[in-house]
Amino acid sequence: MLLEVKNLSVEINEQEILHDLNLNLEAGTLHVVMGPNGAGKSTLSNVLLGHPNFQIKSGEIFFAQEKINDLSPEQRAYLGLMSLWQAPPEIEGVALEQFLFLAYKNIFAARDKAWKAPSVFEFSELLKKQASILNISPELLKRSLNVGFSGGEKKKIEILQLNLLQPKLAILDETDSGLDIDAMKILAENIKNYQQNKGTVLLITHYPEILEFLQPDFVHVMVKGEIVKSGKKDLLTTIKTSGFSQFI
């Protein structure tokens, strides 16, 4: 099992959002967690990533056989957890390329002690290559992180990081919402490539459109902080025809 969530209860500001939640992901699979607004989907994503504002009241999270309840966000990144954000922040003055170089060095050095960091120049070449695959202009890499980027550009920068940082598990937290059809296809294609390289995907969404392009192995329905129903792909059809109300 790559990810095991056992009886997890989570609160923020003394309010419990997740109750006794269980979720298991085998390496190489694609799971979808769906649910109406307010079901606690973002909390799930945040708590998996180690957001300091969310408190685990009970339960355990194991990632690659390691208990990660108390690990910092960066330690989880080293282990291979990553989320593609729906609305990544815009940070003035933080040059995208510099940020990515530091992220890249930190993550690979932590994963492999014998790893030798590339020079700035070597990294720059690597990054340019990866960016060109996604049709990201090299000029964008010199700019401040996401500042003045279009929605599509921001999304591509998130995908660029997925390709660059090679996590074991990619969490797509509403990554597909608000995308036009072309951007959706680019995202889906990159997720497929990632899966072919043995990547595991947890897609958290209330918006099943991207599933026209991707094949989920498991579908979970989340309501009021609990997984109320799990099944195979056919569960999607049920949701599409009759919505979430049947589970509430």
Binding site: G50, E74, Q98, A103, N106, L165
Partner: protein, 463 residues
């Protein structure tokens, strides 16, 4: 990077022994002022200026409108100490003093990036040099004490005219005990493309440093001067009350940059003013780190039509520190313009205050002025406030004022951490991004130094 940081930190904290203090004393009276003047063999007019300033100093009280200065014990300060005689080659500078400056990267920088260098240790300049090509063009870059001897008429005409001794108590103090500093004269139409640099160091315990910087930029001339300041930490208050006067003549352009990193027991009470004439342009770029209390508001007086000024400033208030900084612009003539950009960072309970004055006089038509201050709080213990004063006596002025204050974004820090940056790296990166518009304006080696200072402040390893 951490190796470099620890060297810088060492240079910062290391103190050399100070045998020269034996012949110095604490406190201030008329006989000391006379001694200083006599030991420098000054002309009568300068002694006279000092004595008048002393009388003003004794009559005035400490300013009470700003940070608390009541704990500053003026009687325990050593006002004058001479550590070494002025040398013109680096090899002649005493070993321990040389080491300090070498660790701070001064002589290397001179070879590579600078048009000229001066270095002051305690009260007197220990080294001064100007590249031959600029000497040949008539540029004067001298220790201020030497300038009084060599160019008395020029000095007398300008000395403490922009910053008169009666401006405030510390300007009066400065007038009485000033020593060392930099004199720069750039003749008409001479353009110096490399920066000129000076470095000031307070070493001994309870010292006062009162260097005077006087710069005259003649018609159509251009230049850039940059200075760095530092002092080790003692746990006894020291005082820096320097004075900078800059005269920017018609059509001239000048930039004055400073990176000040005083120890956290120093009071940094500085007065800086530029008189900007017709179609001339003045730029102030400043970074303030360290010190216990800083009060610093560089001022541009726009005297001539079409004159303009840019003020860019950054202040970092860490634990136990008050950074009361800002800018003043006085628009006396028509079609003058000014742009103020101030950024402050507060951490560990530090307090930063933006205090500014925009003064547009009745006769000044079509003035354009812009004030932009940005405060970033790195935790919830720290404080920031903005005290912008605006006096606008002419209704053709276009004035824009923007102030922002916010805590470092948790969301941004979390995002960067989730991509493998440590909390400290994430915060440092955000802080560097915040100050980038200021740092970008500095020459490379100073930008590097400023980034190091920031990193040290973020680690909390200094002071």
């Amino acid at each position: 990077m951490s190796e470099i940081n620890s060297t810088i930190k060492q240079a910062w904290e290391e103190k050399n022994s100070a045998p020269y203090l034996k012949s110095s004393r604490r406190g201030l009276d008329e006989s000391l002022v006379r001694e200083i003047s006599q030991s420098k063999n000054e002309p009568d007019w300068m002694l006279d200026l000092r004595l008048k300033a002393l009388a003003l100093y004794q009559a005035m009280s400490k300013p009470t409108w700003g940070p608390d200065l009541s704990k500053l014990d003026l009687a325990s300060i050593t006002y004058y100490a001479k550590a070494s005689s002025s040398e013109s080659t680096w090899d002649e500078v005493p070993e321990d003093i040389k080491n300090t400056f070498t660790k701070l990267g001064i002589p290397q920088a001179e070879q590579k990036f600078l048009a000229g260098v001066g270095a002051q240790y305690e009260s007197t300049t220990i080294y001064h040099n100007l590249k031959q090509q600029f000497k040949d063009q008539g540029v004067i870059f001298e220790d201020m004490d030497v300038a009084v001897q060599k160019y008395p008429d020029l000095v007398k005409e300008y000395f403490m005219k922009a910053v008169p001794a009666n401006l405030h108590k510390f300007a009066a103090l400065h007038g009485a005990v000033w020593s060392g500093g930099t004199f720069l004269y750039i003749p008409k139409d001479v353009k110096i493309d490399l920066p000129l640099q000076a470095y000031f160091r307070m070493n001994a315990k309870g010292m006062g440093q009162f260097e005077h910087t006087l710069m005259i930029i003649e018609d159509g001339a251009q230049g850039h001067y940059i200075e760095g300041c530092s002092a080790p930490r003692y746990g006894v208050d020291s005082l820096h009350a320097g004075c900078v006067e800059i005269y920017v003549k018609p059509n001239a352009r000048f930039r004055y940059s400073s990176v000040e990193s005083w120890s956290k027991d120093a009071y940094n009470l500085n007065t800086k003013r530029a008189m900007v004439e017709k179609n001339a342009h003045m730029e102030w770029v400043g970074g303030n780190f360290g010190s216990n209390v800083t009060m610093l508001y560089p001022c541009s007086v726009l005297l001539g039509e079409g004159a303009s000024a840019d003020h860019l400033g950054l202040a970092f208030a860490n634990s136990g520190q008050v950074q009361d900084t800002g800018a003043k612009v006085i628009h006396l003539a028509s079609n003058t313009s000014s742009n103020i950009v101030m950024k402050s960072l507060s951490r560990g309970g530090g307090q930063s205050i933006y205090r500014g004055l925009l003064d547009i006089r009745a006769k000044a038509e079509n003035v354009k002025a812009q004030v932009n201050c940005d405060a970033l709080l790195l935790d919830s213990d720290s404080k920031s406030s903005t005290i912008p004063e605006m006096k606008i006596a002419n209704n053709t002025a276009t004035v824009a004022h923007e102030a922002r204050c916010g805590k470092i974004s948790e969301n941004e820090v979390f995002y960067l951490r989730s991509r493998g940056l440590s909390k400290e790296e994430a915060e440092t990166m955000i802080v560097n991004g915040f100050v980038d518009p200021i740092v970008r304006e500095l020459p490379l080696e100073y930008a590097v130094e400023m980034n190091r200072m920031l990193k040290l402040e973020m680690e909390g390893s200094v002071g």
